[in-house]
Amino acid sequence: MNKALHFKDKPRTPFKIVGKGVPVKDAREKVCGTLKYGVDASAHGMAYGKILRSTKPHARIKRIDASKALELGGVLAVITHEDCPQLNWENAWFNYRGKIMDGIARFVGDEIGAVAAMSEEIAQQAIEMIEVEYEPLPTVFDPEEAMKPDAPQLREEGNVREPYIVEWGDTAAGEAESDFIVECDIKFDSQQYAPLGRNACVAEWSDDRVTVWTASQTPSELRDAIHEALGIPQSKVRVCAMPSGSSFGSWWANSFMVVTAMLARKAGRAVKIELTNWECMATVKRRHNEITRGRMGVRKDGTLTLAQFDHIIDNGAYGFKDDVGFFCVDLWGRAMHGHYAVHGVNTNTLTAGCMRGVGDVTLGAAVERLADMCAEKVDMDPLDFRLKNQIRSGELLRMQHAKRYMHGNLEEYLKGIPEESRKMWPRLFHLSSGSTEQILTDGGKAFRWKERWKGWRNPGTIDGPKRRAVGVGTGAHVCGVEFEGSTSAVVRINPDGSAKVHCSVGRQGQGSETTQSQVAAEVLGIPFDRIEIETGDTDSCPWSHGSLASNTMYRVGFATWAAAIDARQQLLAMAAREFFDGDPDELDIDDGIIRYAGRPDSNVRVTIEEAMNHFRGHDTLGQTSSITGRNSIPMPPATTFARHFAAHFVELEVDTETGEIRLLDWLACQDSGTVMNPQVLKNQMIGGAICGAGFALYEGLMFAEDGSIRNAALLDYKLLRAADFPLNGEVVYGDSYDPVGPFGARGAGEAPIAAAGPAICQAVYNAIGVWVDMPMTPERVLRALGRI
């Protein structure tokens, strides 16, 4: 067997390109402004679309009259619910379930019609000329109200999802075994993706086939969505996903993209719908409003005895989630007895969906707060308390319910896996590698935690009204999930000796095009700059889960790695036969040159380009003109063993007179296994910290009485600026090696945002002695202090 297939162990020889901080592939295009994003999409002769949006939070469309709009010069087509196929479609991870325009508006901003015209201005004018008569329906905005049996129901399935429960041990016993019990009742604000970069969609039909250009993290899932919503075969949909601006889960398959496809069909020509910033913030998606009620128990020796949480997530109008990716359950899984219940519910507000670190940013923050309260009760340092109570590599995971969402039955799936592959898998439902142990220890040293930590509610320094203190927070998240499909990739070796990777992960700025290329380059022995990659075109990329759930490096990376191995084996088998007198396993490829691996005496060498040209056959009958590798090694179910971890340290200052919080020092630490590209990873870590700090300090949507959003504009929704965050940008990496991920790497993007908020909350508590709910605006700090 090829040595590369022994993927359990860290190789003794250093990697060629894995671990190198090469600039991302599109760096030049980004700094020169030449990269084309979704908003830059265009098609020759295209029309411009605008969407008519409901002004009512819940209403039946009694009458909709577009006759005046259609008379306006330059108007090409109008669609309303009467033109729509009335088919349910579902976004990845239940971020949407419903129909496009079914004659009922379920939130202010919901789509009820659309116009295509010769210009955007004409389209907007036409929208204003459409007469709509609404029949108001009863409304519900508060998730707890929406859970009551007599609440107005938004959808045929009802408002409330079946609770998603994870439990182990016996909570009553846990309570009895506890020396102290602590409790919390927290209502989280809803964070907005605030996707700088907005988005647009261009759709064009050719006969019965539609091509869609838009920014999306999930090209394959978007193709599925259009197929479902329009009732046309998957083969009749081509998605060309373009790079997005900061997305964080915002741009997957979004309803406005489906509307564009429908409008283009009616208009009989290409149509572009470009969303305004208000539409991006008020009509697409947001993080859930969440409510956590929890209890935790602890023994005097610091052992966690009980973790008991009830968590409500408000899905808004079209979200359909009942679980959140709550991997804080596994992180704190050493608790002896546990019960976590998550309740998904719908309200007449903007749809909620998965935003970066979903569940772990909210429920995780509640768990961290209660764990801190436990640590204070037994007077333990929060860092030591985490070392004592957090999961380590090899231990049992509590999220056993992965089975519930597996298509088919997990046992059945396992039966279909060849024994040879199965033997190489880690133990399912146990953590395969990594933990917070090393990053807490190394990070603590780098931050000088032991020196700077002065005990609970003990600020390091007090200067008049200003109090400084430190805090540490931890977070975990998954490394991709398989509940909604597998991953595939294709790696092709071209006649010129270059290679092309085809994997459908989209591009949202996190560098996936670069890290996937590094994986392929390492396997193939082809120089990094001779690897090209396509991540958005569903006509050339096989189906794959996109960049979501920290899937990219781990599961898509596995597919890319496996496909590259297949291509390499094909290449070496032919090269061995044609050029070398030996076994393909004796050959190696380095810098694009094939040679014997362990025979310094042999100077037989052939470049991939020479070999490929030989196989292609100039003056003889050729065997092939290119080599296509596919991923034929089954991917083990990642949810059942892989997590990534973050630990963040902060020093901050609270002004008890103004309520202002200033971040003074920050250290981000992360265990994502092998660091594929330190430049990429550190940006994920610090970027996650800044987005998490935004959630902790400033960000929260404000809802009006009709459920509409009052601050859907960057003027009114405050984000951190450069001067608001410590400038040092230092990071610490763990050095665990994963037995499954490509070259030992795991997921990366979501644990950091989960760790940031808890670190800030704890430091604020140490500074002023009270827990403040996020976002900790000056007003909330002063209220918590009893000053206003």
Binding site: E29, V31, L196, I686, L714
Partner: protein, 160 residues
């Protein structure tokens, strides 16, 4: 019709009285490096130089820019021949998605023209009119500092 001078070239373009400069630059001159996000002067993505002063071009009417010197990111460097500031951003990876990057680079240009040897704190304040939602700020500040160094070296070697 108005006449605009953009990146050293003259253009005759159609512009109505209410057209924003950003719209004209993007939709009529196809300078897509002018990124538009908030359209209310808050995010800084559409920052350009107007007579060497950084402005958010979504807040300037096209007609107000007539006869003035406009520089966009396209006027700074090209992928084949990047400007030292752009090179510094690449080396320090002062971005993730890159959407806000042209705006940050134009703000950096104006700042370093004014203050060639800044402190980190001055640099952070100077780019605080721009939002990077990906949160690359510490590395953007490093990029500004490295750009300053590159430009000082370039000036010194030109003087030799």
């Amino acid at each position: 019709m108005i006449e605009l001078r953009v990146n050293g070239k003259k253009y005759e373009v159609e512009a109505r009285p209410h057209d924003r400069l950003s719209t004209v630059l993007r939709d009529r001159l196809f300078l897509h490096g002018v990124r538009v996000s908030c359209t209310e002067g808050e995010c800084g993505s559409c920052t350009i130089l107007l007579d060497s002063v950084p402005v958010t071009s979504c807040m300037v009417l096209a007609m107000q820019a007539e006869g003035r010197d406009i520089v966009t990111i396209e006027g700074l460097g090209t992928p084949d021949n990047v400007h030292p500031i752009q090179q510094a951003y690449i080396e320090e990876q002062g971005f993730q998605c890159g959407f806000c990057t042209p705006g940050f680079i134009m703000a950096t240009k104006a700042f370093l023209d004014r203050n060639p040897s800044p402190t980190e704190e001055e640099a952070a304040l100077a780019i605080s009119g721009n939002i990077c939602r990906c949160g690359a700020y510490p590395y953007i500040v490093r990029s500004v500092m490295k750009a300053a160094e590159k430009l000082r070296q370039q000036k010194a070697s030109a003087a030799d």
